[in-house]
């Protein structure tokens, strides 16, 4: 069963709603037991990096999540902050990330002319396929592949092969990443209409 992790941060309602719309049943997990039953995991996230990592630890989810990701290797999708958590660290905070994908989360501020490129990067932007992956199947059928982004920090993979989608906003960053069974999407599929539905559909089929 596709399990959405509830650690108190993230738009669970919208995510569950969109899966329901495409006919996929989901279950929400708040404790290790819930995680243990999962055969597919979705990690949402809205807010600050450290707050998120601290919460995950406080709820005792770290061990079971690590087991699912690294040992059982179930498909995992991290969204927005959830994708940033997959990296090793973030300039937003001091706590380490889950480290499932060798990458770092960096700040837009200081790297962009913020008068020209307002931060947060907010709105509909397009993505470009960098590496093929089942998560992005069927995207070519859309005239324009755009998703809704809201973030002040971006991810840069150490190994470019882990980048599956790239987006430009003053600089080019990884908008979707993958390391084996672990996937990340910087944008919000649950708020991206038909485009998001396609991505969720693909993830559900993995």
């Amino acid at each position: 069963m596709l399990t959405v992790v509830d650690y108190g941060m993230g738009n669970l309602g919208s995510i569950v709603n969109m899966f329901r719309k495409i006919g996929v049943q989901t279950v929400v997990a708040v404790d290790p037991a819930g995680i243990e039953r999962a055969d597919k995991i979705l990690l949402p996230g809205v807010g600050a990096f450290d707050t998120a990592m601290a919460r995950i630890e406080q709820q005792g989810l770290l061990e079971s999540l690590n087991h699912k990701a690294l040992v059982e290797k179930v498909p995992i999708l991290g969204i927005c902050l959830g994708m940033q958590l997959l990296t090793e660290s973030s300039e937003e905070g001091t706590l380490p990330g889950l480290g499932w994908i060798p990458a770092r989360t960096l700040a837009f501020k200081g790297r962009l002319d913020t008068m020209r490129y307002k931060v947060p990067h907010m709105g509909w932007n397009t993505v470009e396929k960098h590496t093929e992956s089942p998560l992005t199947a069927g995207f070519e059928s859309f005239e324009e592949q755009r998703f809704y982004f809201v973030h002040s920090y971006f991810v840069q993979c150490d190994d470019d092969r882990h980048s599956i989608l790239k987006t430009a906003y003053g600089l080019r960053f990884d908008s979707a990443i993958r390391n084996g069974n672990v996937y990340g999407a910087q944008f919000h599929p649950e708020k991206s209409h038909a485009f998001g539905m396609q991505l969720f559909r693909n993830f559900a089929r993995l």
Partner: protein
Amino acid sequence: MTMLRPRVIPCLLLNDESLVKTVKFGAYTYIGDPVNTVRIFNELEVDELAFLDITASRQSRRPNFKILEDIANECFMPLAYGGGICDIDDVGKIFGIGFEKVVINSHAIRNPAFITQVADKYGSQSVIGSIDARKNLWGRYEVFTHGGTSKDSRNPLEWAQELERLGAGELLLTSMDQDGTWAGYDIKLTQSVTSKVNVPVIANGGAGTVRHIGDVVKKGGASAAAVGSIVVFQGKGLGVLVSFPSKQELKDCLA
């Protein structure tokens, strides 16, 4: 180069449980059922939606969670809600329902630290600082609160900078004079703010044609344009009709 298209955001006004549209923050016309209208906008795949509850704002009432839930269930695009927000728990509840952002206006004036409180807990991208501005007899802009019923007098530009400093991730700048007039946005007002802040500014008030949208983005520096009358009426003085500019029209005016 960046492919971030400026957002066009229908800004819908809630009065009790009905959708209305105002002119200069005054008289209003009944538009229809909020949830069905939202459903239509969802079908039209609009960029984003903003809901402002004007009764909650004017009467300092708490948000109508039931309606917000119904609305969130219909949408697969970002949603913002504003109107009488002054409680951090209400904010949490609104996000839990499925909204991405809260629009804070009057309460930010009363208690500026509230903005910081919300931004710290949920991230600055979740807070839109809202400014309603009107020109006084001498042509100076002044800030109003409580759905435009109460004058605060401070300068919108300074207040915008302050809101940014407090942690607002976005600003909603509304010209009360232009509201509902179909005559175009207040480009000057918009430009004065966008040139001084580093956060995205949503211009609001006065859109009458798609051209106006292009103007406020290109000349006013707005990152997004909120639209009201133009998406709920067929034309100025004409019947209610919920619609949204076509993808081609938007592409052309924002080019």
